[in-house]
Every structure is written in C-alpha cells, then in structure tokens.
Point group: C2
Chain length 247, copies 2
C-alpha cells in the first residue's frame, strides 16, 4: 500500500499518539471510544486536542481492514487503512501460544511523567518484545510486573474467564493502556450471562483460569492455547464471545 505523507524529521521521534481500529462495512468499530482514547492519550502527552480526528477517520474510512489514525506533536493528523495481515486472522481463528516475561517495572512505582496509559507512537519496545517472543517460539507475550502481576501484552489486553466471571486487568492500578476491546467485551458480558470484573491477577492465578484471551481491536480475541509451554483446552466461550464482538 503506497500511502505516503510528507513529514519533518521531528515527526519520526515517536512523540505523538495513535489508534488502530477495525474498519467494518458499517464503519470503524467502537469509533467513539477510540477517538476518546486518542484525545486522552494526547492530553497525557500535553498535546492539543485532536479536534479534526473524526473528520480524518471519516474521510479515510473506505472499505474494510485495519484503520490507523496518527497524531504527532507537530500537528500532523493522518488516517489510513491497510489490509488485515493473514497472521492476525489466523490467530483469531486458531488461538495463540503465549509466554510470560518480566517487564522489569513495578505496577505501583511508575515515574511521575509515566505515559504508559497513553497509546504513544513510541512503539519500539513493544515491537522488540514481540520479536523476542517469536524467537522463543511464541506468538505473543504477557508482561509481568516485578510483583508478579500480569499486566498486558505489547499490543493487547489480557482477558480471562473464571467460572462465570469474565475479568481483565484494571488499567489505573496496573499503569497500563486502557484496552477498548476488553472494556467493551466486559460491558456486554452480562448479555451472555457472565459477570464482569476488573482485578489484578498473578501468573499462577491466570494459568488456573478456565480460559485466557488477548483482546485488541483488529485481532479481536485470540485465545491463549498455550501459556509458558503448557497447552490449554479450547474454551467453548471463544466462538460465543467473538460473535458477541461481531467477528
């Protein structure tokens, strides 16, 4: 896809925010929530509100795929659509092998300028973490705090089911990005008879859950079919929850 735009060198220093959405036939999925998070991310980086974001998205929303909107400190605001990579579709259908790894930070000890709650353009560490996971033979990884809490994946939220309770990690306690897909899933969980709870979870607690998923906008839900090398039975809830999310 040739979708090139003129930028200044300063635009390339990861100093901005972005969102990725699932562009469906009826428009970008959960658009309002994504625009709200874009604005909150910008505020966390002390950037002006991205007032033209909805217009940019509307102009670019042609067809279906993965829609990304980027907003840099210089004021560049750009939306584009790309095809969903086959690997993403495969992981949604077949599940993923995940490993856990310490992030080296404490959930409660972030610096005062911490921008973990913003979806910033500084994604080199996220990509490096996923490359590392791939070298270990895994599809993705779950970051652990120094206290041993599961936090998030480099590009996804952690969701798990224990009995009839669907859980995710509380973003404010964990100092992680608030996941839009996970929050939406928990908000609609009662419609299929599940309770919804946000709580911190240790790795052993997570491993003991009935099912685990990584939730994100384009992949939707990818079921964790092995965690740290231990295979997990497929959950009958995976197709039901995917359907609930419109996948």
């Amino acid at each position: 896809m040739t979708d090139r735009m003129p930028v200044s060198p300063g635009d390339l220093l990861g100093d901005g925010v972005f969102e990725t959405m699932h562009l469906r036939p009826d428009g970008p999925w959960l658009l309002d929530a994504h625009l709200l998070r874009l604005a909150r991310s910008a505020a966390l980086l002390e950037m002006p509100a991205p007032v033209a974001a909805r217009d940019r998205v509307t102009e670019a929303a042609v067809g279906t795929g993965a829609m990304r909107i980027i907003y840099t400190r210089s004021g560049l605001l750009h939306a584009s659509v790309s095809a969903i990579p086959p690997a993403v579709l495969r992981e949604r259908r077949d599940g993923i092998r995940v490993i856990s790894a310490g992030l080296g930070v404490s959930a409660g000890r972030r610096p005062p300028w911490d921008i973990s709650a913003a979806k910033s353009l500084s994604y080199a560490s996220n990509f490096a973490a996923r490359r590392w996971a791939a070298r270990q033979g895994a599809d993705d990884l779950i970051w652990l705090s120094t206290e041993g809490y599961a936090l998030e994946a480099p590009t996804a939220s952690v969701v798990w089911l224990t009995g009839d309770t669907l859980c995710t990690v509380p973003p404010s306690s964990a100092a992680i990005l608030p996941g839009i897909t996970a929050a939406h899933l928990l908000s609609v969980a009662p419609s299929v008879g599940l309770h919804a709870v946000e709580r911190m979870v240790t790795l052993p607690e997570l491993a003991a859950a009935d099912a685990i998923w990584l939730a994100s906008s384009v992949r939707g839900l990818a079921e964790v079919i092995s965690l740290d090398g231990v295979s997990r039975a497929r959950s009958p809830w995976t197709p039901r929850l995917l359907e609930l999310l419109g996948f």
Copy 2:
C-alpha cells in the same frame, strides 16, 4: 526549517534509530563514533546495517548546527541539519538546574528484549520526562534506578569530578545508552591531568562530587549548578573541559 520527506504511516511508530551530532566547520564532530553507535543501535533492533549512513551525512553536512540522521525499519535513511536552539547554547554557557527522579526500573532487571542501549526513535518518554522536569522548575533531570543509582539524563550522560578523577556511569552495568561525548571526554581527560573512571554512583555520592555535568553531542557539557534545589559552586574545570572538547 522546511525539510520534509515522504514516509509511510509505519515509519511514525518510533521503530528505528537515530543519532544527533554537532556539525562543526570541519564536519560532524565524532562522526565515526556516531556512525558506529547508529549501526549498533540498528543491530539491537535487529535492523539491517545502515550502510549508506556515511554518504547521507556527508551529503547533508552543509554549514554548522545540529545534524540528525534517522533510520527506520522500512529502510528510510535521512540526514538533516537544524540550527542549535538558543537554550542549548545558554545551558552550555550558564549551566543547568537539575533534579533527580526515580525511573521505576532496576539497573540489573531489564527485560531480555531491552533496547535501552539503543538510541531508538521511541523518544516520547524522554520528552515527557523533560516536560515534567520543566514543570518542577528544573532545566533537566537525572534518572535514578530503583536501587538509587544515578543512570543518565533523558538526552545526556552524567559526568562528575571527584578530586582529580573524572567519572561517568558504565553503560553496560547501568543498561543505559553509551554516551559518545562522555566517552570521548574521559578518553582525553589524561591530557589535562585527570584520571578517568566508569563507575556506578548513588545520588548522595553524586551530590558530594566536586563538579557534575550533563554531556551530550550538541550541548557539549552543561554544568549542574543546582541539584535537587541545592546550589553548587561553579567548577574551574568547566571552561577547561569545554575547550578540550572544542566548544
């Protein structure tokens, strides 16, 4: 300065490396060391070697100022020159008020995919840290590990003088970016009668030093004239070391 280049949206995700050099009348200062670090940063991010980097720098090296070379995962390799901001010149001449702040990470507990030793384009946290310092009324800040060791500044290395020993933080032990200006300064220190040592330093040890500087390519040396609100006497070594570095 209108120096715009066409990029793809993926180029804006901070997934690449860069260098900033002091472009002097006789060319980019310490060019070989900067090109070597660019290549090492690229290797840490598992990118191909930036083979055309020297050519790009040579083509762009017109006049004097701050020269930046950027290299992204898509293969974009771009060098440009901008004017040195007046604040940088002022800080080199008048010194800086610095505060210390915990980074929330352990020097010895970085994750296996850690890219702290690479000068990556993911600079949003560095900028956020400097904005936070400015809000506290400071010019810059020094990051501390959870163990209380001084690590580095968001865009500079820490250098200090105790007696006739000039010190900086060992990059490999501290898991920080290897500072080119600091390393060069220590390598030439014997020519002015100073010993040179790399060692870890706690904040109280640093505060007890005879002089402290932040070292970087364009600012050169900025003397720390106050640390955490405590004023420090100007060191007679500041002009001597600046001269030694050609400033």
